[in-house]
């Protein structure tokens, strides 16, 4: 089981936080993020990508498996049942999917479109288990859902509320934007 996924940047600012194993209260969640960040950031890139048993909130035997891409750390917290090397590939799948989805993903994309990052993640991991690893399938469903979002607005063109939503969401590039 994957217990949680955290993306933090080189300065410890969280860019995506997803807990599959619930961690109650914002304070605890922040302390988890801080703890993960201090541990991960103190290791040079040449070191191995595993860290063991340093997040008490997730219980014993939780391993942090992470990868460092440019300014971001992608950290997966997993239990003993998960394959150590397999998760590294899964992180790669996630990053590649983001890269394709945003066309050369950078930290700013994650900041301003965190909802989309979550949508991509939800197509890959669900309830702590691997849902899909085929990148084209992931992208297809994201694209279809995006299309559906615009269509659902155009269909109800006449209603006043829809036009208002469209007014706020309408964005040529992302189909909607806040």
């Amino acid at each position: 089981m994957i217990k949680g996924i955290i993306i933090v940047n080189n300065h410890g600012k969280p860019r995506l936080v997803k807990f599959y194993h619930p961690v109650e209260s914002e304070q605890l969640q922040q302390s988890v993020i801080r703890r993960v960040f201090t541990q991960v950031s103190s290791r040079p890139d040449s070191f191995c990508n595993y860290l063991e048993g340093i997040v008490p909130e997730w219980g014993e035997n939780v391993k942090l498996i992470y990868r460092h891409y440019a300014t971001l750390y992608f950290v997966f917290a997993v239990d003993a049942q998960e394959s150590d090397l397999g998760i590294l590939d899964l992180i790669q799948v996630f990053v590649e999917a983001l890269d394709k989805c945003f066309e050369n993903v950078c930290e700013l994309d994650l900041i301003f479109h965190s909802d989309r990052v979550h949508y991509v993640l939800d197509e890959i991991v669900m309830g702590g288990m691997v849902l899909e690893t085929n990148i084209s399938a992931i992208l297809q469903s994201i694209k279809d859902q995006g299309k559906m979002a615009t269509e659902s607005l155009s269909k109800t063109d006449d209603s006043q509320s829809a036009s208002k939503i469209r007014e706020q969401l309408g964005d040529s590039k992302w189909m909607y934007s806040w």
Binding site: P14, V17, K18, Y20, P22, E24, E26, Q27, Q29, I33, R43, P44, S46, F47, C48, N49, Y50, L51, E52, Q81, S83, D84, L85, G86, L88, D89, L90, I111, F112, S114, D115, H118, Y119, D122, M126, G127, M129, V130, L131, E132, T133, N134, S136, A137, S141, D144, Q145, M148, A149, S152, L153, T156, A162, K164, I165, Q168, L169, Y176, S177, W178
Partner: protein, 954 residues
Amino acid sequence: MAMKLRDLIRKVRACKTAAEERAVIAKESAMIRTAIREEQEHYRHRNVAKLLFMHMLGYPTHFGQLECMKLIASPHFPEKRIGYLGMMLLLSEEADVLMLATNSLKNDMNSQNKFISGLALCTIGNLATADMSRDLAPEVDKHLKSGMPYLRKKANLAMARCLTKCPDMVEDFVDRVVTLLKDKNHGVLITVVQLMTQVLMIDLKNAEEEGENPFETDCRKAFLRLVPMLVKMLRNLLSSGYSPEYDVAGISDPFLQVQLLTLLRLLGTKNEKASEEMNDVLAQVATNTESSKNAGNAILYECVQTIMGIESEDGLRVLAVNILGRFLLNRDNNIRYVALNTLSRCIKEQQETIDGSVPTESANTASAALQKHRNTVVDCLKDPDISIRQRALELIYYMVNQENVEALTAELLNYLVLCPREHRSDICTRILRVVERFSPDDRWRVDTLITMLTIAGREASREVQSAAVIYISRSGDDIHAYATHKLLKAIRDDDGSQRGLLVVGIWCVGEYGDHLLSPYSYTPSPGPGETMNGAPVSITFMALDPLSVVQAVETVTKRHSCPDYIKERALTCFAKLCDRFANKGDAAALTLLQNLIKQHEVSHSLELQLRACEYDALVNATKGIKTVVKKPEAEPDLFGVTDNGNTGEGVSASVINAAKEALSRMPVVDLKVLDKKREEAFGDIPMPKAKLAAPAPAGSGDLLDLNDMFGGTAAPAPAQNGGAEAPKSDLDLLTDIFAASSVAPVAPVGGGGGYDPFGAAGPVAAMPAPTNPLDIFGAPPTISATMPVPPAVGNPLDIFGAPPAAVPMATPVSIPMAPMMDAPAPAANASVVVPGFTHEGLTIEFECSKPDIWNKQSSELIAKCTNASSDAMYGFNLQCAVPKYVTMEMEPPTSTTIPVTGMNTAKVVTQKIKVTNSQLGTKNLMLKLKVSFTLQGRKIEHLATCGGFPAGEY
């Protein structure tokens, strides 16, 4: 007007301080609350999006939970989508509002739109509570049969969640799972396999809770029937072309392969039949998988774990270990990490099975295969990455056996030098375990322990220190001498920070100080493997004189940083040394010892003061001098001695004897004490007795309830007096030794002081002098050997005497102090004169001596220049060259002008040269000399070599 999410993010990012950020967020939170209160539904989705952002930064967002509920009920997909996202992130399963979502979820799952159903399933998979699971399971179940793979895979994982939340539903569900495996879609299969894995885990837990055999449940039986199918699926994956779209680096769907292997591992555990069915395909995976890419390695790694987890064939296990061995050589740190991790897990499991039952053949072969990779593992200890080092360390502990113990312990000691401080204590304890179990001989054991203490004496735990003392005391006299010499040298070299070393060292110096007075040398017999290294290096320690021994310990206690407990031990050491050096004829040392003890009689530390007084009295008693407590009326009785009516008694011969015995050599510590202590402290399984050095002496170690080995270890000594049987020492061990000293010669009295005397006054054992040639009592042996000791049972001897008022006169027992003032000077200090050369009337001789008796390698040469010519020599300049293994320091000559000396030694010009021969014993000191001077206006230069130094000494 509320701002857009984008603007909020920009604003937050522009904040320079945390306070500024908090202010921005607080303002925005207030706006959102207002919007929520005013039911501004057009802004609802935007507000939730903002809340998601704030939530990520750690700000409270609970007030937005209901908004999510409203959004998921919206007919618009974008609103629904953000609503579900908000729900998954902002709500936890404990949230009360979650129940409100059940109905919306049910509606959405029935939606014709696959994405809307998908959102609902995803939410269930991430968030469902037990109640929701029960309510929604039928809906999820419908989607398991959906025509769309997109929904089937989500339904599988949602179902896994529902079953985890409601384990009792598993039983009804087993049949359904079995059919799911027939799915043709490749992407769905990975979720099915995960669902099966989850179901198996739940089933395992259920069975354990109900007390059934977890390997005999209906569910497992049903799944076991699927093993051939799973095997076939894995085999299909291996033959390429099955599903090109799931290829990762040329390997078809590594994720599915990994999941399949995990499931097979669960099924094959403790099941011979299933394991047999898997053997072939596992071998195929292990041999055919490309290992140049991470994906391939992931499969191999999982395969190895499965092979180790199930009841696989020996050949397969060896293959698995070899794959891990290959991983160890990989340059990728991750691969090495998992290899180390898996190896230590495997070897641990094996050792558990070996300990538990008859060693199996397979375990042995796998271990043997592992030993081949020993050097690789050892290399990992030098890795800069701490994760890898820790793993390697763990593995090495498990790899140690009788054959490789010396090599591996050397590596562990090397690592001890390098590792971070906080790990040292743990490593010391582990090295101790290794040394206990596998030591080839006593010398090696003691040697290793001392080396370990010199490296990490600061961090070594009390237990390690105790064990070192016990093992030293258990070994023979030869080792005693060796250990004491070595420790004294280590103490002298130490800067006072390795406290564990000081504790052990001071104890040994006190206990075996007499050995220090004689030189010690040991030449190891060359082992079969050592012949290539040339002659074995012999170990030599020089004899020391008592004064320098005492001064060495004194130096330790004089340090500013020296803690009280070391001073306490040093006091005990001094008291014992009084006994050990008593007839060595060094009055200065003895006086110094007594002064050192006395100086603490006014110490601020009660313990030190108490000890100092008691030891002083004890030492005096051995000489027959009665210690008088001053001002008895004014001060409370320091020694716990009350007026018990022994009014007429003085220091009798028996008291002297008792005092001497108190200071004499400790009996060997019973290993049971060690085991017992360890059980108390760590709950460890005691080491198998057979592996330990010697059978514990018969005695009653169990009776000794000792809090601390140093706090008066007392093991009954074996009865050495012929037929006399050692009586069980069921004395109250906390009885003060000074009060209860029944000194019948055959009765070894285990008596420990209530305080912590570090062994000195602790055990009082009857060790008759004649049987123990090295037993050097303070008095000439004849006294202790022939002294008839009155049976004093029931009449506790009071070596301090009763309160002085009642004592008429101490019986003086004179003990010859043997003032050997004409003791020969130690050989080391004798100087040798080596002729240098003679040229043009100039003669140079070297007077060689060893200034530092601790360091044989360094010597001091004094070049004596005599001028036999008729005129003075001017501008004298002596230059020396030495071989590479020698380092040299030269001081300037006393004069550059050498007058005509003739026979007048006062005019001799000298020059001091200090040399250190690092290869003493194998190579001799050589000097190349170049001298220049002016004689009668002629400039004279001369070259000469000088190699006449006594071989082996310089």
